[in-house]
């Protein structure tokens, strides 16, 4: 096991900068998720850690060693790919023993270690099959098995669950997390799915457009997003945003509603600010309740466990997540009241400046 440190790493393809200076520190045994929309550079960064892409500038360390110029085979890593990258001409057992065969490990030992990994991953009955004879979830497990058998310093996962259906994805999520708790190997995991990031990571690195927007524990990012991008990216359904102007009485929203603000807001009166509030921090209140926002229900989405309400307000839509079932109908007028101090204020640069 090892810590991984990424220092001012940049990557350009020709004149196009893909990664524009990234710093990340990953502790020994940590499960770190790189998350961001497609094209943000997260997969490229992972491939650079693996040694599959050159580093344009900056340093990548695995343990004490700078690995910029170390070929992938000598980095002591194991990578799991989205497409699984299993060898179609090898059985499950041969696929899993691949790295051991390379190291010249005796056959008996190979068999033992493959057997142990197969037991962990419930693959014992499939060892003699070929990848084409397996389901997507089984292939995924074989790919993980192949990585485990290598017993690397660092596991790298590149969107490993993206090719699975929703139900299997949830199941594999749990399995990967359990596996990490058991092996405690440093893991770097790339996904575009913020739910995967929230549920699995010790630490999330939110990337956007080649830079790191924020690094932190899942709930830290959720509760205190540093900027509008992180606020909007983390959380499902996504945070609501309303533009407003800071006044003496509070934040003046379009349509004449003034949202009272508690506490100090570090911005000059008259500043244009964005108010963000998570769907579960809005309540349905009696019409005209003080500090509430008048709205019209447009869509009601019952999911069984909770209900999502989408309502039109002056200038935008608000999403409300209700734990209880609700009898509201589209077209009905409602008042939405934010729970105190659960909202966020962002300045015109998109930086979070205060709770609201």
């Amino acid at each position: 096991m090892a810590n991984v440190s990424i220092r001012d790493v940049r990557k350009s393809f020709g004149s196009v900068a893909i990664i524009k200076g990234v710093d990340v520190d990953i502790q020994d045994g940590e499960f770190v998720i790189l998350v961001g929309p497609s094209g943000c550079g997260k997969s490229t960064l992972l491939r650079m850690i693996a040694g599959l892409e050159d580093v344009t500038s900056g340093d990548i360390r695995i343990g004490p060693r700078v690995v910029n110029d170390v070929p992938p085979k000598d980095r002591d890593i194991a990578m799991v790919f989205q497409s699984y990258a299993l060898y179609p001409h090898m059985t499950v057992a041969e696929n899993m023993a691949f790295s051991l065969k390379l190291k010249g490990v005796p056959r008996a030992e190979q068999k033992k270690r493959v057997g142990e990994a197969a037991a962990i991953l419930d693959l014992e009955k499939l060892l003699e099959r070929y990848p084409r004879q397996l389901s997507g979830g089984q292939r995924q497990r074989v790919a993980m098995g192949r990585a485990i058998v290598r017993d690397p310093q660092v596991f790298l996962f590149d969107e490993p669950l993206s090719n699975l259906d929703a139900k299997l994805r949830v199941q594999m999520r749990v399995e990967i997390k359990e596996l990490h708790q058991r092996l405690k190997t440093t893991t770097i995991y790339v996904t575009h799915d913020q739910i995967e990031a929230m549920t699995m990571a010790d630490k999330i690195v939110v990337m956007h457009d080649g830079i790191v927007e924020q690094i932190g524990a899942p709930l830290e990012l959720y509760d205190r997003p540093r900027n509008l991008f992180v606020a909007g990216f983390i959380g499902s359904p996504a945070m609501n945003f309303i533009e407003g102007r800071l006044e003496q009485a509070g934040l003046a929203l379009p349509g004449g509603v003034v949202l009272p603000l508690e506490g100090h807001v570090p911005a000059a009166p008259g500043s244009e600010l964005t108010y963000g509030i998570r769907p579960e921090h809005l309540q349905v209140a009696p019409a005209g309740a003080p500090g509430s926002i008048p709205a019209t229900v447009t869509v009601v989405e019952p999911t069984g466990s909770d209900t999502t309400l989408i309502a039109k307000v002056e200038g935008s839509h608000l999403t409300v997540a209700l734990r209880e079932r609700c009898a509201l109908k589209p077209g009905e007028a409602v008042a939405l009241k934010p729970l105190g101090q659960q909202g966020h204020l962002f300045d015109d640069q998109g930086r979070r400046i205060a709770a609201a």
Partner: protein, 231 residues
Amino acid sequence: MTDWLSPEEWTAVRLSLKVALVAMGASLLPGIAIAYALERGRFWGRQALDVMVHLPLVLPPVVVGYALLLGFGRRGPIGAYLAEQFGIVLSFRWTGAALACAIMGFPLLVRAIRLSLETVDRKLEDAAGTLGAHPVWVFFAVTLPLILPGIIAGMVLSFAKAMGEFGATITFVSNIPGETQTIPSAIYTFTQVPGGEGGALRLTLVSVAISIAALWMSEWMARRVRRRFLA
């Protein structure tokens, strides 16, 4: 069976098989290497190499044969060198016929291998690297098994081309019975003499039979490989 073909005809058949097998065998390794270089390599002169390899496909065979004569003939620069240094003479010998056939079939061999290289998922090679494999090992353990069907297809094309090669061969090594007279040259000779129709027809049938057998064998091998290796 043996008296079905005349001794001369048998000689032509044997020679053709020998020439075609040698041409195919000798071009196999360079074919794989050049296909790999063209598909994966980023080096100066790649385009030029690509054009060179494909030239025999578009040039008139007689032109290729004549170029070989100029280069590899007794007085040609390469031919003279080979003869002086190693005592290897190619012009008007069966070895020259094999060279001509190998060159004519080379673009077909390279193309087939290149096409199958194109379809190999690069992630499979990447994964091998991250699992600790040296690039050479990656090639032999991962890439080569995956492109085997393409290699087999290329070999059959090269063999078939060699069996049928006429223009370059006859220009470079002429049409000497027992030395350079392959099936096509023999058929040509038969059609030039009165009463030769029987021989021409018999050799034509042999030619068809060999081609069918080669196709059938490649199909069988490719299917075996695919069943063993690929989904």
